[in-house]
């Protein structure tokens, strides 16, 4: 399945924030988690994650720190802030509304999901 470019872009911020809300992490691990969560369907160009992370840092949603884990390479770790959590909650509200509306209209009598689901 190919997911539309705009949809990928729109979901990137809440997805990254939600992953960081689980625990602090670094770029490569975040990408692996995205892949895992979407069952491999959601594929990002690796590099593009970083400008996004830097934007979140500028907005004060995440803080960063260079650290060397016991085994492994020196990496920049990202941790979500209080502001970041607030932004995530707001995003969640918006996405709930959107998905609710979408599933309502698609589940309707002549709905798309019905047809697709039965097929």
């Amino acid at each position: 399945m190919h997911i539309d470019k705009d949809l990928v872009a729109a979901s990137a911020t809440p997805l990254v924030l939600a992953i960081l809300a689980e625990e602090e992490s670094y770029g490569y691990a975040i990408l692996k988690r995205v892949r895992e969560l979407s069952g491999g369907e959601l594929e990002w160009t690796d590099g593009m994650l970083y400008p996004l992370l830097h934007r979140l840092r500028r907005l004060g949603y995440v803080t960063t720190e260079w650290r060397v884990p016991p085994e492994g390479r020196r990496r920049r770790y990202y941790a979500i802030t209080k502001e970041g959590r607030a932004a995530l909650e707001e995003q969640q509200r918006q996405w709930r509304t959107v998905t609710q509306a979408l599933s309502d209209v698609m589940r309707g009598p002549s709905g798309l999901l019905m047809a697709l689901g039965e097929a």
Binding site: G47, M48, R57, R73, R76
Partner: protein, 449 residues
């Protein structure tokens, strides 16, 4: 064996990424670690190191697109490269030198003509003084409108404030020795400077990032202008000394002719220098901020304590309020320099605390003086000068109080640094409105006294 060749390939890749202007060393480190993680995972999955490298690079994505994305996020870093914005742009013949020179020359000629028409310096001309900004800054606006290739609408919107203000300030029937006329003359250049922001930002005046660029430009422009003025001063002084043996008055005459045009042309030349030499010379603002913030912090703290202990604030006059206006402008300048030069994602440092001390001391001082000023106005009533000085003071006070409040919250880690940036870039509008009010509304309110 192949691991070595991968190492050299990674080094090459790294060097290529590092060339992008908006990607700094730490970011390259970050991307390199990512690449290495990916290569490790792929080799563990059975790929040869060479294959793993190729796949990892491919997955990283198009590097040009990536560096564009970085540039969008870190526009401050690009500041040094503004003129070099990509190889794709047509190379400007001699980087717009000719264009800048043309506008500088035109401004210089107009200023000279105005000087002759007013008979300055033989006669004291309020007309010349009042219109000073209008002889210079329209050319600067025109220079930017041309450089940014604005369309007809852009040109019209650039010209509108200049035309409007030229009409207003020259149609007002000022009385003899009018105070409001002097206030207009003092505030008009500032209003016009804000009008230059429109063509500078190519009309995108709502963009906070572009506003910050304009702040940066203003700061660097001041530095360049002062440097040119210093050089020009040395030149003038030497000329006067050399010509003195021929005719004691000759040097003075030359200065009379050269100085007005030179000082005018330098406005545009300085702007051109900021635009084109940014990639050659490192930004001055961070250096100056580092130097002067601690010094000002000490000076302001000492003064605040002295004033509080001695109670000197009660015995002040109007001149002192002007001094405090100047002080607040300088402190605000320091704050703006610091903000524009700072990487917003960097955590709080000692310099941020020192700056907060400077701002807080300035606020304490100002509140003491302001209290006495308000009492004086209560006794003696309003005059145009008092309203202008008091208004400016209040506008600056609110700005610095807001900045101090946000700094405290930033230092405590409650808000991100971009809130501070936002506060200042939003507040620019208040400055523009206040100065425009003094120019357009104050004279009629005080019956052109």
């Amino acid at each position: 064996m192949t691991m070595d060749s991968v190492e050299s390939q990674i080094a090459e890749w790294r060097a290529y990424v590092a060339k992008a202007p908006a990607v700094d060393g730490r970011d390259v480190d970050e991307l390199e670690v990512h690449l290495r993680d990916r290569i490790t995972d792929l080799t563990e999955a059975g790929l040869s190191p060479d294959e793993a490298f190729l796949v990892a690079v491919k997955r990283m994505g198009d590097l040009d697109a990536l560096s564009r994305e970085f540039a969008r996020e870190h526009s401050g870093r690009l500041w040094k490269q503004l003129v070099l914005s990509g190889e794709t742009e047509q190379p400007r013949t001699s980087s717009g030198w000719f264009e800048a020179f043309g506008f500088a020359l035109a401004a210089g000629v107009v200023m000279q003509g105005a000087r002759l028409a007013a008979g300055f310096p033989e006669e004291e001309s309020m007309w010349l003084f009042r219109n000073l900004g209008l002889f210079v800054l329209p050319f600067l606006a025109g220079y930017f409108a041309r450089r940014r290739r604005l369309d007809m609408r852009g040109w019209a919107l650039t010209a509108a404030p200049f035309l409007f203000l030229a009409l207003v300030i020259n149609l007002y029937p000022y009385r003899v020795a009018s105070h409001t006329e002097i206030l207009v003359a003092l505030h008009l250049p500032v209003v016009l400077w804000f009008a230059v922001a429109y063509p500078y930002m190519s009309g995108t005046i709502r963009s906070h990032e572009r506003r910050m660029d304009f702040v940066r430009f203003t700061g660097e422009w001041v530095i360049y202008y002062v440097l040119i003025a210093l050089g020009g001063g040395v030149l003038m002084a030497l000329t006067a000394l050399i010509l003195e043996p021929i005719d004691p008055n000759l040097g003075e005459r030359v200065i009379e002719w050269v100085l007005p045009s030179g000082a005018t042309g330098a406005v545009i030349v300085a702007a051109w220098l900021v635009e084109s030499k940014q990639h050659v010379v490192e930004n001055m603002a961070p250096v100056l901020t580092m130097l002067f913030t601690p010094l000002f912090a000490v000076m302001l703290t000492v003064s605040a304590v002295t004033y509080a202990v001695s109670g000197a604030a009660g015995a002040f006059d109007r001149e002192l309020l002007s001094v405090f206006d100047a002080l607040m402008v300088v402190v605000l300048g320091l704050v703006l320099y610091a903000i524009s030069a700072r990487d917003p994602s960097r955590p709080a440092r000692l310099m941020d605390r020192i700056q907060l001390i400077a701002v807080a001391s300035a606020l304490v001082l100002d509140v003491m003086v302001l209290g006495a000023m308000v009492a004086r106005i209560g006794d003696l009533g309003f005059t145009p000068n008092r309203v202008a000085a008091l208004g400016l003071n209040l506008v600056l006070l609110v700005n610095l109080a807001g900045a101090a409040w946000l700094s405290i919250r930033f230092l405590r880690g409650q808000v991100g640094f971009h809130h501070l940036e936002r506060w200042q870039t939003s507040y620019l509008l208040i400055f523009a409105l206040w100065t425009a009010t003094v120019v357009t509304l104050l004279p009629p309110i005080f019956a052109f006294q």
